[in-house]
């Protein structure tokens, strides 16, 4: 009798210690800064990002701003992708955000800050509307819905009078009090602030119930539903978040470019976003940032390369646009076939060589 009791006690104790162990692991897993190297890496990145305008040219700051804007949009796409849903129409949401900002600022002379909020909110609402078919459709069909949404929106924007048709709209620069934010570095810091906000939100979201529900839906919808996760609610939420991200980035893009036309938001833009996601490695925040940097800087890098080689191969200058398109296609195909994990996958593989065996 006593031995039985002792055994029971022992068993419960060992279970308890196991439990606390698991909890500790979970806590560690939940932390944003997991180790000292992580902290050092983050501080280094922060320093580089903050000090960039001090030692680079205006052109580089402009490119960096575009990278930051794309980071916001692609993080939204990443959130949507973490529920297993795919969208080839992310550029359309960006277009909505950009055009609402442009119309409010240009035609109705509203302050940018209000226009930014309104644009983000309206894009979110439209995202919910697009989410309704998403509750019935999967993979290929969903891709087609979002794709056709992008095609339709492009034609509508090009055809309407209020959007300026193919000529586009001028967007006035934002102002704080009497200061007009019209230099590159001011816009860079503004965008950087927005990126910090959105990244903070994304990283925190990845530790919550919501992100776990997203993952459960991605892995298997029916078992997720059986666990009491509302498919309707979470899929709509994913679309809402993705379109809010896209709307905010579109709004920022409008003021950074200063002049937007429908050709900034074609189907190619949406495919570029997917490329950023795939090249970076879907599902990982750091990977997505890397992928966005690579793909956004690619055309500028190619342009630089062409100019450097133009005296030896003058044909490169003539065929620049075509070659660029081809390189994009080749990158998309190569990454899909050979590196499905994207850049993050390559890094993981690479770091695996240096790790001791478990």
């Amino acid at each position: 009798m006593t031995s039985q009791g002792q055994k029971n006690k022992l068993r419960s104790e060992s279970a308890k210690s196991k439990w606390t162990n698991a909890e500790a692991l979970f806590r560690k897993e939940k932390r944003i800064v997991k180790s000292k190297t992580d902290a050092l890496f983050m501080i280094a990145c922060l320093f580089i990002v903050l000090s960039l305008p001090w030692y680079t040219s205006r052109y580089v700051i402009y490119i960096a701003t575009l990278v930051l804007i794309n980071i916001i949009a692609v993080q939204g796409l990443n959130l949507l992708g973490s529920t297993g849903q795919v969208s080839i129409g992310h550029g359309a949401f960006m277009a909505i955000g950009a055009y609402i900002t442009a119309i409010l600022c240009h035609t109705y002379h509203v302050s940018f800050w209000i226009a930014f909020l309104v644009a983000t909110a309206i894009t979110g609402i439209i995202g919910i509307f697009i989410a309704f078919p998403a509750l019935r459709l999967k993979e290929m069909y969903l891709a087609m819905v979002t794709f056709s949404f992008n095609l339709i929106l492009y034609l509508i924007i090009a055809g309407l009078k209020i959007t300026g048709g193919f000529l586009g709209l001028n967007v006035p620069k934002p102002r704080i009090g009497s200061i007009i934010l019209n230099t590159e570095w001011q816009l860079y810091y503004l965008t950087l602030f927005a990126v910090f906000l959105f990244l903070f939100f994304t990283i925190n979201l990845s530790r919550t119930r919501i992100q776990r529900a997203f993952t459960a839906i991605r892995v298997r919808e029916i078992s997720a539903q059986a666990m009491g996760i509302s498919l309707w609610g979470y899929k709509t939420l994913a679309f809402l978040l993705a379109s809010i991200y896209a709307g905010a980035s579109g709004s920022l893009l409008a003021i950074t470019l200063g002049h937007i036309t429908p050709n900034n938001f074609t189907v190619i833009t949406s495919i570029e976003f997917i490329m950023m996601l795939l090249v970076g490695g879907p599902g990982s925040i750091v990977g997505v940032i890397l992928g966005t940097m690579l793909i956004t800087m690619l055309p500028f890098f190619l342009m630089f390369l062409t100019q450097a080689l133009s005296s030896y191969f003058p044909i490169l200058v003539v065929q620049f646009a075509n070659l660029k398109i081809m390189i994009y296609g080749v990158i998309l195909i190569v990454f899909l076939i050979y590196f499905p994990g994207g850049f993050q996958g390559i890094l993981m593989k690479f770091s695996g060589y240096f790790q001791r065996r478990p």
């Binding site: 459709l137 056709s148 034609l155 190619i268 075509n322 398109i325 296609g329």
Partner: protein
């Protein structure tokens, strides 16, 4: 009553005039269906294949080849391109999820666009085809030879393909592959050959609408957008039905014609995509598609 008769006659005229473009969509949708049935992938580069076929024909015509020979040569070349693309790129990812396959075809499409741009330039070209704009009287409607031939071609292709799938042994092998890969492999079907055959057939089907569009509208890389309208014909007809492609293609053509006449402006281009969007929202299986049941 007189006015109403006039209206109705006008409406019928509009419908008849939009039959040629409808048959273009029909042929494109047929290409989509062939590939979709055999390999379960949505081939988003059908429009680009179409454009490539038109450009190759144009290239041979520039070299003073006769029109018929140029078409034959472009069919052969297009089929070769499709064969290479399928065999060496898509065969590697055939077991991945459909979305990955779709993106790979998008990538192939952009490569084709870049390639045609390098070979022929991006500026608009005009194709000269003998006897294309000669008119004939058919049951009281005046039509050009080009329009009549594209309508006839689409009907002929659909009948031939329908008979091929119903009657011939290879057609049966393709149907078997469509319904179950592993079972048909066990029954001795070489499914690799079936994949190649479906791609080659689809690329051949893409040549004719390409030439028609290049002649009747303009030859430029932008005509690959019509591939997406073909996509909406596919979805309207049902994703896996050959009968559906006829109905879907002609229906989209007529809808576009009506939108162009009665609304005007950009509405013509919008109509096809709005139909695509609405059909996917309301009835994703289309008119003749089979419904899929999902199990846990």
């Amino acid at each position: 009553v007189e006015i109403m008769m006039e209206e109705i006659k006008f409406f019928i005229d509009v419908c008849i005039n939009s039959l040629p473009i409808g048959s273009v969509y029909c042929l494109l949708a047929l290409g989509f269906v062939l590939i979709l049935k055999a390999t379960r992938m949505l081939n988003l580069c059908q429009g680009e294949m179409m454009m490539l076929g038109a450009y190759i024909t144009y290239g041979f015509m520039q070299m003073k080849w006769p029109f018929a020979v140029a078409i034959l040569a472009s069919i052969v070349l297009n089929a070769a391109v499709a064969f290479v693309v399928e065999k060496f790129i898509l065969r590697k990812v055939i077991d991945k999820p459909p979305f990955v396959l779709l993106l790979v075809t998008v990538g192939i499409g952009t490569v084709i666009v870049g390639l045609t741009g390098i070979l022929w330039g991006v500026e608009q070209k005009i194709m000269e085809i003998p006897n294309f704009s000669k008119t004939v009287n058919l049951l009281g409607f005046r039509m050009t030879y080009g329009k009549v031939s594209i309508i006839l071609l689409s009907l002929v292709f659909i009948i031939i393909l329908g008979l091929f799938f119903k009657l011939s042994r290879r057609g049966m092998a393709m149907r078997a592959t469509a319904s179950n890969w592993s079972a048909s492999m066990l029954m001795g079907v070489n499914i690799g050959n079936v994949f190649s055959a479906s791609w080659i057939l689809a690329s051949i089907l893409a040549v004719f609408p390409g030439i028609f569009l290049a002649k009747s509208i303009i030859l430029e890389p932008g005509i690959s957008v019509y591939g997406y309208v073909g996509l909406s014909a596919l979805v309207l007809g049902g994703m896996d039905s050959i009968l559906g492609t006829i109905v879907g293609g002609f229906a989209i053509g007529i809808v576009e014609g009506i939108a162009a006449i009665y609304i005007g402006g950009q509405a013509k281009h919008l109509a096809g995509f709005i139909v695509l969007f609405l059909v996917l929202m309301v009835r994703p299986t289309g008119l003749f598609g089979t419904k899929k049941v999902e199990r846990v």
